[in-house]
């Protein structure tokens, strides 16, 4: 069966520090991968998605970047964190381009920038 791992679960970082959040998927190949951010009490905002290694699409301009160095690995990064980067970050995957649309989310990373 497919599983998705996301870490760390919580993170407190000072303003101006770098960020690296990692997400890996097991049990499938060529998944579509996504990074979402959820602000407190709000919905989910799509940040980045990837259909393959090295292929990253950005949905909103921001202080973050994403990379996909391997088929089942998706990394969210920042060189210098801002207070506004605080939030709950969720990685998700969906099936390859065969019509399977459902998302499976990871357990999320609670990021607090202080």
């Amino acid at each position: 069966s497919q599983t998705i791992h996301q870490w760390p679960a919580t993170l407190v970082q000072p303003v101006g520090s770098p960020l690296s959040l990692e997400c890996t998927v097991e049990g499938t190949s060529n998944p579509n991968l996504y990074w979402y951010r959820q602000a407190a009490g709000r919905g989910l905002q799509l940040l980045f998605y990837s259909v393959g290694i090295g292929q990253i699409s950005s949905e909103v301009p921001q202080n973050l970047s994403a990379s996909r160095p391997q088929d089942r690995q998706f990394i969210l990064s920042s060189k210098k964190l801002l207070l506004s980067d605080s939030g709950f970050y969720l990685c998700a995957w969906s099936g390859p381009r065969d019509g399977s649309y459902g998302y499976t989310f990871g357990s999320g990373t609670r990021l607090t920038v202080v």
Partner: protein
């Protein structure tokens, strides 16, 4: 990003009652409408989903009703239980061939089921 409007923002229902959450969308090209359930500190989990070629889908106590002409869909939770207390998100997506399916989410409904 195409909008999906969700209401109410919060909902309190007595145990055994019916919980109803509504969503409306604008883009008639959407072809997949899932509902997600999220408990505090956890990622959302897929609850039930529907495609626009059917008007209703039922899985256990959860039912999606879909009105294509009105561009609306709703989640009904029958016999609501305290364990159903969570935040529920509706979503919609277009899945053009050859690229990723990008879900657009509603803003969420916090459901509390009281004893």
């Amino acid at each position: 990003q195409q909008q999906v409007k969700q209401s109410p923002q919060s909902l309190i229902v007595q145990k055994g009652g019916i919980s109803i959450i509504n969503c409306a969308y604008e883009n008639t090209a959407f072809d997949y409408f899932p509902w997600y359930q999220q408990f505090p500190g956890k990622g959302p989990a897929l609850l039930i989903a529907i495609r626009p070629d059917v008007s209703e889908k039922k899985e256990g106590r959860f039912t999606i009703s879909f009105n294509k002409s009105a561009k609306q869909f709703s989640l009904h939770i029958m016999d609501s239980q305290p364990g159903d207390s969570a935040t529920y998100f509706c979503a919609a997506s277009i899945s053009p061939a050859g690229t990723a399916s990008k879900l657009t989410f509603g803003t969420g409904t916090r459901l509390q089921v009281t004893l």
